[in-house]
Amino acid sequence: MSNFRQPSVLPGFGLTFGFAMVYLSAIVLIPLAALVLKAGTMQWSEFFHVILDPRSVASYRLSFGASLLAASVNAVFGFVIAWTLVRYEFPGRKVIDALIDMPFALPTAVSGIALTAVFAQNGWIGRYLDAFGIKVAYTWIGVTVALTLIGLPFVVRSLQPALQEVQSELEDAAETLGAGRLYIFRRIILPTVTPALLTGFALAFARAVGEYGSVIFIAGNLPMKTEITPLLIVIRLEEFNYQAAAALGFVTLVISFLMLLSINLLQAWGRRRMVAAGH
């Protein structure tokens, strides 16, 4: 405890710590506990019946699969965008920088409808993709596109400060030491920004798992095919089957927690490796 109690410009450690605890409890811990308790009122058989129902399992696969895929796509292209914004000066840079935050601000239903209009079979882009036999709207690809859109800002905003810190001097140094561009990218730039990239990835993933509004329009919501877990939960709620909804919510919670935990462990392991590395 004494470790926490560093002297600080703001007085009252007890007060602020207490406030933080109450606040977190009221909006995070207590609702989560209520969820667990609600699920806990079920019989074990009932519980397993709900969560292992083929329709539920299909929805987990779509939700977590599409979220992982979307977060991965964002990791790659978000890196490119962040790099462009940090490293180059070009007219309109500020405007593009501001545009990155748009998915944050837009009501998700609006982005969902817009995406559907564009990617539908007769939409601006969907029309051309359709010629190649690629259907986006009302398939799992559409779900992924929607989740990519809403996850992009997380990756870009996590990476920007990290990239700013990679001094161009480091690249100059590596170059004079004889390293080629690919080598510099792999051995100097990427390792330096990996923690930030993982953070961005984890945030984008977490956001995608919980996403509802933008997906339901473009997904088509065919049971077993394009139905995401959050939608299934809403359907159960509309049937007044609160216990089933709580059980599904509980599963989502557990899987999300495990995945975020493993990303955090990966980061911690990376940091330890950096500190402990030696010969």
Binding site: A174, T176, A179, I188
Partner: protein, 593 residues
């Protein structure tokens, strides 16, 4: 030669940041590039490393032209001010980086790493991360890393900039030792002259993108060629003196001072002399001085700096007039002196004490431009001219002064016969006037040798045209142009003019003369000129060229006063308002090499 730069120029948005630098660094030499920030020294270093492309000129390393070779293949060792260590790698991985890139076997890498860690005296720290080391240790690692691939050239960009004084000195010694041990050609960039003195075999001083002078530290300190180097390397008092056939004269009395050499002794003229603070002698009375007496003054301020005592002395009238400095125009000259502990004990001083000042040794700068004197027929005229923005700028950059002189004789200058040889300070400055030729003639007869004619509108020349009428004026005109161009950010153009209808067979001679002039300017005055050849009447052609663009000026060299009226009457009558500097050198004008 391990590093050869040949007329290297680098521009950013049209402005030259490295301006025509030529330099040879010898094998195993420790060369220091010294200059204030923004002088282009770091850009030049990056150009040598291959991290910056050049717009003009060639760079070779050990005889191999590398101008178009990438940094990766040049393989120099480069050390940065902020270490630029790879923070996610251990010290060992950092040092082995260049070897790993080259696919050197692990056992060999390990051997080389141990060697390098021993060299920089950090054995056993291989497993640490850079962030676990102090600044000084990190910079040692950076040096070791830069040496891993056995580069032929080591480049250091302000390597001590981020360190405190004590560690700085320690690291300085390490780097000097490493350099001696490996005998590697080294270029270090710094703005700190102490550092340059401590490390360099030779120093090159840069300012405004130009490499001004290159010499061993002691020589550069004792015998600088330019005001900038004199004042940038250590403290210096700049004084105006007169060079006479008998020797140097301060004020009225001739003083015989050893060490006053290298000046143009053929004619009597004003010169700029450098007096280092430690060469000024202080005594209670002029008789007690061991060196020539130059004046009296009152102690204004005493600063204790440890081994030395620094003293500012307010010179009393007479002596103060000789001193160049920020307050020199008001006549309140401040002389800087420094004394050792022994001198302090022999003659204790406190602020307010009156002292006699002597000079043990001075150095005369070889520059032909000393000070400026604005001439006018009345006080108002002369003072107005002395406030001309071009003149004020130029004088400030040259750290010299603008005197004001009323000369009623200018009004009736036609009886230009009185060669009284009166004392005139430096360049005479005149305002444009209908009878300007008569005025210049009058002043030249009075002993003036350079006249600057200024038109009223303010101007900032981007281009300086240079022309001399005959070979006699050539070398001195070049010297004046070189001195002026060190203080003006402008390009120099020598204009050669041949009579109209010159037969083709003679044209090649004209071209030869241009090229000769260019190489002489380069060799003797380190002045880079472009050249242009024109055909026609000289005055008309020069007037036409001055008319082409607004921000230009002309430097004109003549060897006889009458040439001005006979050949250039049309130029002064018709030329649009541009500054014109006339350099007059009578008789045989070739400067001894």
């Amino acid at each position: 030669m391990s590093i050869t730069l040949d007329q290297v120029t680098k521009r950013y948005q049209g402005m030259p940041v490295v301006n025509d630098v030529s330099l040879d660094v010898r094998d195993g030499e420790f060369f220091v590039l010294l200059g204030p920030s923004g002088s282009g020294k770091s850009t030049l270093l990056r150009a040598i490393a291959g991290l910056t492309s050049v717009d003009h000129g060639r760079i070779s390393l050990h005889g191999r032209d590398v101008t178009n070779v990438s940094a990766r293949e040049r393989g120099v060792g480069l050390v940065f001010q902020n270490y630029a260590l790879f923070k996610h790698m251990t010290v060992a991985e950092n040092i082995e980086f260049a070897l790993r890139v080259r696919h050197v076997r692990a056992s060999e890498r390990r051997k080389r790493r141990r060697e390098l860690l021993r060299l920089v005296a950090l054995e056993g720290l291989g497993a640490r991360l850079p962030t676990q080391l102090s600044g000084g240790q990190q910079q040692r690692i950076a040096v070791a890393r830069a040496l891993a691939h056995k580069p032929e050239v080591l480049l250091l960009d302000e390597p001590f900039g981020a360190l405190d004084a004590k560690i700085r000195e320690e690291l300085r010694r390490t780097i000097r030792q490493v350099q001696r041990e490996l005998k590697i050609s080294t270029v270090l960039v710094t703005h700190d002259q102490q550092e340059a003195f401590a490390l360099a075999d030779r120093i090159g001083v840069m300012n405004l993108g130009r490499l001004l002078e290159t010499a061993p530290p002691d020589e550069l300190y004792a015998r600088p060629a330019t005001r900038f180097v004199a004042t940038f390397l250590g403290a210096a008092n700049l004084l105006l003196a007169r060079q006479t056939p008998e020797g140097i004269r301060f004020g009225a009395a001739p003083v015989d001072i050893p060490g006053a050499e290298r000046a143009d002794t053929r004619r009597e003229h004003e010169v700029v002399a450098v007096l280092r603070p430690e060469e000024a002698e202080l005594a209670p009375t002029p008789e007690a001085l061991a060196s020539p007496f130059i004046g009296r003054g009152a102690v204004d301020e005493i600063v204790f700096t440890g081994a030395l005592q620094r003293i500012r002395i307010r010179l009393s009238d007479g002596a103060g007039a000789q001193l160049l400095g920020p307050e020199s125009n008001s006549g309140a000259g401040m002389l800087e002196a420094s004394r050792t502990q022994r001198e302090q004990r022999a003659f204790p001083l406190a602020p307010g004490h009156s002292v006699a000042i002597g000079m043990r040794r001075i150095h005369v700068l070889p520059t032909p431009l000393s000070s400026y004197t604005a001439f006018g027929a009345s006080v108002e005229e002369a003072e107005q001219l002395s406030r001309h923005s071009f003149l004020v700028d130029l004088a400030a950059r040259m750290k010299t002064r603008v005197n004001v002189r009323v000369e009623p004789g200018l009004r009736m200058a036609n009886n230009a016969d009185c060669s009284s040889g009166a004392d005139r300070g430096g360049v005479a400055v005149l305002a444009t006037a209908p009878d300007i030729i008569s005025q210049i003639e009058f002043l030249f007869h009075q002993g003036v040798t350079e006249a600057l004619v200024l038109p009223p509108p303010p101007t900032k020349p981007q281009r300086v045209l240079i022309h001399w009428l005959d070979r006699a004026a050539r070398s001195d005109t070049m010297a004046v142009a070189a001195s002026l161009l060190r203080h003006v950010a402008a390009e120099a153009v020598y204009v050669g003019i041949m009579p109209p209808g010159t037969p083709d067979s003679h044209r090649s001679l004209g071209m030869r003369a241009l090229l000769d002039a260019r190489s002489e300017a380069q060799a003797m005055h380190s002045l880079d000129m472009r050249t242009e050849l024109r055909f026609g009447d000289i005055a008309t052609e020069l007037a036409a060229q001055l008319g082409e663009a607004r921000d230009q000026m002309l430097i004109l060299g003549i060897s006889e006063i009458r040439q001005l009226r006979e050949r250039f009457a049309a130029l002064f009558a018709t030329a649009p308002g541009r500054p014109i500097m006339v350099v007059y050198r009578p008789g045989e004008g070739t400067r001894p090499a």
